[in-house]
């Protein structure tokens, strides 16, 4: 099984959610994170002092899927999450060794 982490735009989150549902991904975990990036040269001003900050709040999705579903999920996120402008975000796939449903103790694909 794989863990797919996607760091996406806030404004694309709802669309991605729907796209995932269409391909049968009904469960995942998400949270707000901050993206640090140098390119923007953005500044923050507070009480007379200006300083650089290219940090933008972003949404991070964490989805555990069977290995064979990775491609579909990546495809769905790419399709709905893209605007073509800088800042669309990243997808990271990492290996999962165990995945267990706490309620029943089922593990692996059964736990999905």
């Amino acid at each position: 099984m794989k863990k797919i982490e996607a760091i996406v735009r806030f404004s694309k989150f709802e669309d991605i959610k729907e796209a995932l549902e269409k391909i049968g991904i009904n469960f995942f975990t998400y949270l707000e994170v901050n993206g640090h990036g140098k390119q923007k040269g953005d500044t923050v001003t507070y009480r007379g002092a200006v300083y650089d900050s290219g940090d933008i709040p972003r949404m991070k999705l964490e989805i555990i899927v069977p290995s064979e579903k990775v491609e579909d999920v990546v495809g769905a996120i790419m399709a709905e999450g893209r605007t073509g402008n800088i800042g669309d975000g990243k997808i990271i796939v990492t290996p999962v060794e165990q995945f267990i449903r706490i309620r029943t103790g089922e593990s692996g694909n059964d736990a999905l």
């Binding site: 404004s11 729907e18 923050v44 200006v50 933008i56």
Partner: protein, 447 residues
């Protein structure tokens, strides 16, 4: 000789007594003058005490109307997303500055120009700046001083623009908005205001608007509507898949705002009595509160029927709807009338919010529903429920609504349009996504 003798013997007795009587009368007269003087002095003191209490109430009312600006700021901040909070606070902070200063510069003298006898009552201007004479600080001016008059009216003036700021939130550019607000508060609001409160043509024809359902609230609502139309909805609100609600970021902040608005409304309506008259002010407090309460219930019931939910955002707007609804007739309504007016205003809120959304007119805080729609309702309600000599007829009320609405909407539309084609009124899509706080202020609301 006998005569002389007689005279000399008879008269003294009478004469003496007569003199006594005369003296007594004179003394009485003198004392009477003292008493009259004392009575006059007492009257002057009593009148001054009355003047002082009337004036004090107008000042306290002005402070209460001031706190409505915090109410609007909190309400609007609560109803926008976290990324646009600094922006909405900044706009509201600027509006109060702009409102007070332009009202001082020209607004007050545009709104209360003292129309000449033969004036058509459409427009007059009493000159820049404020220059009260010495009499203007006494009861000769009114039940309050010139300064009290100014500061109370000035606090009112800024509320109009505040209404706009909520409706156009989360996408308008800061500087164009501030330019619009300045012109709107400095010119448009006082001119339409002069038609009624300044003694202009609407006043002459019998239009009735006690504390400003139309003159303040609808006026703000019409300007908001013009802005909304020209701006377009926030990105992602109306999608191919339907309407996507964009939730406000903090319900407690919104609730604080609404309660403070209700609190301030005691000054807004209560102060509009323009004296501390016990009967009228206490009636206004009662009708205002009952209408607000009924508005909350109305919005609760209606939104429950519509969506089977207990929707706090609707109840909060229902309070405001009830308050706006009663504002035009708060001094003439009975208890039952004010409850009915508030309840209907509450029912209007969910219907109106949904209708605006169906029309793809995106108003993040519901300002058009609260201030425009309920403002119109309240103004009409004066004709429907009001039962007094000078309560406007249906025609008079309708004329007022339409005339002021048309003027304000057209002026606002033109203003926003000019700003749109010259400097642009909408932030870029990228800035909108990022949030106006970072895009326009480089500052986050929460850290």
């Amino acid at each position: 000789m006998l005569l002389a003798y007689l005279q000399s013997t008879i008269t003294p007795t009478a004469q003496e007594t007569v003199d006594q009587a005369l003296a007594a009368a004179a003394a009485a007269q003198a004392n009477v003058d003292k008493a009259l003087e004392a009575a006059t002095a007492a009257q002057t003191s009593a009148d001054f005490a009355q003047f002082t209490v009337n004036n004090l109430w107008i000042l306290i009312a002005a402070a209460l109307v001031f706190i409505m600006h915090l109410g609007f700021s909190a309400l609007e901040a609560g109803f926008v997303r976290k990324k646009n909070v600094v922006n909405i606070l900044f706009k509201n902070a600027m509006i109060i500055c702009i409102g007070l200063l332009t009202y001082c510069l020209c607004g007050f003298n545009l709104m209360y120009p003292g129309f000449a006898e033969d004036s058509s009552g459409f427009f007059a201007f009493a000159g820049f700046g404020l220059s009260p004479g010495p009499d203007d600080m006494t009861a000769a001016y009114a039940d309050y001083t010139y300064w009290s008059d100014f500061i109370f009216q000035a606090m009112f003036a800024a509320t109009g623009a505040t209404i706009v700021s909520g409706a156009v939130a989360e996408r308008i550019k800061l500087i164009p908005f501030l330019i619009f607000s300045t012109i709107f508060v400095a010119l448009s609001y006082p001119i339409t205001g002069s038609w009624k409160w300044g003694g202009g043509w609407l006043d002459a024809m019998g239009f009735y608007d006690f504390a400003g359902s139309t003159l303040v609230h609808s006026v703000g609502g019409w300007a908001a509507l013009a802005g909304i139309i020209l701006l377009g909805p926030r990105l992602g609100k109306y999608t191919a898949k339907g309407i996507r609600p964009i939730q406000g970021h903090s319900m407690p902040l919104a609730a604080i705002g609404v309660f403070l608005l209700w609190f301030g409304w005691f000054g807004f309506n209560g102060g509009s009595v323009l004296s501390a008259d016990p009967e009228l002010v206490s009636l206004v407090f009662t009708t205002t509160s009952l209408a607000a309460a009924a508005g909350g219930i109305g919005a609760f019931v209606c939104s429950y029927i519509m969506t089977k939910s207990h929707d706090l955002s609707m109840v909060l707007n229902g309070f405001l709807g009830g308050l706006v609804g009663i504002t035009a007739g708060a001094d003439i309504m009975s208890i039952t009338d004010s409850i009915i007016i508030g309840f209907i205003a509450g029912i209007i809120i969910p219907l109106s919010v949904t209708a605006f959304d169906k029309a793809k007119l995106d108003d993040p805080v519901g300002a058009t529903s609260v201030h425009l729609v309920c403002g119109i309702w309240g103004t009409l309600a004066v004709a429907l429920f009001g039962d007094c000599d000078d309560c406007g007829s249906f025609t008079a009320q309708l004329t007022g609504i339409v005339a002021i609405g048309a003027f304000t909407f057209i002026v606002s539309f033109i203003l926003f349009y000019i700003l749109k084609v010259t400097m642009g009124i909408r932030v870029s899509a990228e800035e909108e996504e990022r949030g106006l706080d970072m895009a326009e202020h480089e500052l986050r609301a929460y850290n």
